[in-house]
Symmetry: C2
Subunit: 435 residues, 2 copies
């Protein structure tokens, strides 16, 4: 009989309980896959979890016990945050344990240091659950698509944001109204800024960009815009033009460098990813050989995220005591290459503009003249009528690809026109075709 | 310097050239991922391929040379068919080589024997390219979703069939008309029965069912219906009721056994998989922990399929000379379990029925009475008017879930009614929700 793989759980909240319940409920099926059983040897948490019966388990209130426990092969870090979690993970590595974590902030902000420490000790740090919950996107990028030069990745990687935009789309509701509901439903945190301002998505994007291109983690260089400025009117106009608005993480490699950006984005309704709704996540990857592939599933939740945690445990269990040189490298590449991240000013994208103007002859001509002077060409214009005198009317313009800094200049000039009221709304647009 | 991994290609058609071109074009990037270079040591093929410059390569006209070549670590079987290919693969295994193949028929029909031989010799046989081309679905099932008990899988796994149905849907064209075009475009073979009669999909379904449930390959037990009977009228009626018709491979595990079936299927337009169009493939997997996840991409093509072949080569290269006990088992489970495949008679599905009747009072009542006697309840009825006297009019009925053999009895009785002309059209319907 092959000996069991001994797992220690540090953190016993939502994902911790999901992981525990999967390992206990599906233990026999998993052992049939792995050829040995996986045993939860110790659980470290400040309190018990009412969703789990842990009466037969070794519980400790000090999570550092788990990292020091000599009878544990794999430490599973599920406490979240970046301070104690980092200390815990480094201690586990120092003690020769493999680590599995669902902590996107920890990997995005301290991954380079953690992976280097793991490398020195010959242990693995796996983090499938850190991006897009239960979707095995890390494995797809590091292994399944390893033949490809990745050209770009576009992901809906924050379920809360996608839930809010979907509700706004389907019911014409205001952002703040849906956000309150999401908070009541438990989809959004009391402080929702991590989700709706794009920080959570930026953490995940930094990780997938690094494993796509083999570059060090560079969370600080992610350009980030949230969705709190999106209005039902913009969603409606986009819809009339054939687009949905999604909060997208985009990373792309070009000759000049790598783009790393999170922002609301118009996407043609015909694209599969534009039809990913509610709290679901999806990641669209363009490889030079395979073309576009898409990975869809639940981006959060106890057992969805636990599924990814356990998949990492299974990977480690299948290769435990193997030659560490044969592990898949942490970022999918044996050596990362420093490649500069392009500042947002130097990025080309298409644009949706909503310009609120007083209805006077020649306004549209003035606007298009300014755009033309900045070499911005127009794909479509939608001018709405108003029947109320004195009210501003919206002009919607879709542009072709334009350099960000040229767009900034144009917007400054258009904003300065006498006829233009309110602040101009600008939302990027991506075709996401096989270009 | 670590030594190169030496690959021999046997077969040099579409997928062979795609594999060769990826390995040469992306060689540096791949070496950066693997930590060693991958070298094409020999190519066995009856003829050269004009898409590849092989002037610096060792070519042989006898593919068996490749299986016997002592300087080769991995044999890549891309000749297709099940006779010579089987002999070749078994010879390579006998000579201690790992094998990568894109051959779905070979694995579906002879996989049990081939995997047993590989197991005895301690080598791996990988086959990611055999299902859904470039989509890493085998890896997702064997590794990424290893935490889950898989409940069911539904896949659009034949690009030609999906292309035909999409064209019929979008342009109202007849099956035979689109098939001719697909043949002219090179999507469909001169003998299209493998694609349109569902045999190709059945091969792939047999494979994913085995790795989902850990059962031996049982291609002979797949129930298979093609799409040649689907009419533009059925597609239009389905559309009016909110559905698309897709050619779906379905496998599901229930208490009574495992379902294995390929047939046209109505799917709600709201499901992501119903919006997978053209030659693209998609596989929807329901796991007990992760919920539904979907994998989408090109199911065929030289470099799309080559991408999966090279991913398998990369997997082998990363673990070459490792302990064979640490390989992921061929079917994802250390031991397969014999589980009976349910005969189609004992399967429950919903149904779409199109019944062409003479317009007389009471016809619908007679039909619904027969359905009710067989315990078949009705979800929706669509009765079309006709303005031409003497012409049959279609009655469309959607049923709730019904046992196949009860449906057969009901159809026999309805068909026998005096007012019913033509053969009744019956198409299964699947909700594919998280049930």
């Amino acid at each position: 009989m092959v000996k069991s793989v001994r797992v220690g759980l540090a953190g016993f909240g939502t994902v911790g309980s999901g992981t525990f319940n999967i390992l206990t409920r599906n233990g026999l099926e998993i052992a049939r896959r792995v050829g040995r059983s996986i045993e939860v040897t110790q659980i470290g948490a400040r309190r018990d979890n009412p969703n789990c019966d842990t009466s037969n388990y070794d519980m400790t209130r000090d999570i550092f016990d788990v990292a020091k426990n000599p009878n544990i092969d794999i430490l599973v870090e599920l406490i979240g945050g970046t301070t104690v979690a980092k200390e815990l993970v480094l201690l586990a590595i120092e003690n020769g344990k493999h680590v599995v974590t669902a902590n996107k902030a920890l990997i995005a902000e301290h991954g380079n240091e953690i992976f280097a420490a793991a490398n020195r000790k010959g242990v693995s740090v796996l983090y499938e659950a850190a991006v897009a919950g239960g979707i095995p996107i890390i494995k797809a990028l590091r292994e399944g698509l390893a033949a490809n030069r990745i050209e770009w990745i576009a992901g809906i990687i924050n379920g809360t944001g996608n839930f809010i935009l979907t509700e706004m789309q389907e019911k014409g509701r205001e952002f703040s109204d849906v956000l309150s509901e999401a908070q009541a439903l438990g989809y959004a945190e009391a402080d929702p800024s991590f989700d709706v301002e794009g920080i959570d998505a930026a953490h995940k994007l930094a990780i997938i960009s690094s494993i796509a291109f083999g570059i060090p983690l560079q969370f600080d260089s992610v350009y980030t815009e949230g969705i709190s400025q999106i209005t039902p009117a913009d969603i409606e106009y986009a819809d009339q033009l054939g687009y949905r608005i999604k909060h997208l993480g985009m990373t792309r490699k070009s000759e000049n460098g790598i783009e790393l950006r999170v922002h609301p984005t118009l996407i043609s309704k015909n694209r599969l990813i534009a039809n990913v709704n509610g709290v679901m996540n999806a990641v669209l990857v363009k490889g030079d050989a395979v073309g576009p592939t898409l990975y869809y599933g639940a981006g959060a939740g106890d057992e969805a995220t636990g599924s990814a945690v356990v998949a990492d445990i299974v990977d480690l269990a299948r290769s435990l005591d193997g030659n560490p040189d044969q592990n898949v490298p942490s970022l999918g590449f044996v050596k990362t290459e420093d490649t500069s991240i392009l500042p947002i000013d130097l990025i080309y994208t298409c644009y949706y503009l909503r310009i609120e103007v007083e209805e006077r002859p020649g306004v549209l001509a003035e606007i298009t003249k300014i755009l033309s002077e900045q070499n911005i060409s127009i794909e479509a214009v939608l001018q709405k009528e108003t029947h109320k005198k004195g009210r501003l009317i919206p002009i919607i313009i879709l542009t072709h690809r334009v350099l960000e800094k040229d767009m900034n200049k144009a917007i400054t000039k258009i904003q300065a026109l006498d006829e233009v009221g309110e602040e101009i709304t600008r939302i990027r647009l991506e075709y996401l075709d096989a270009d």
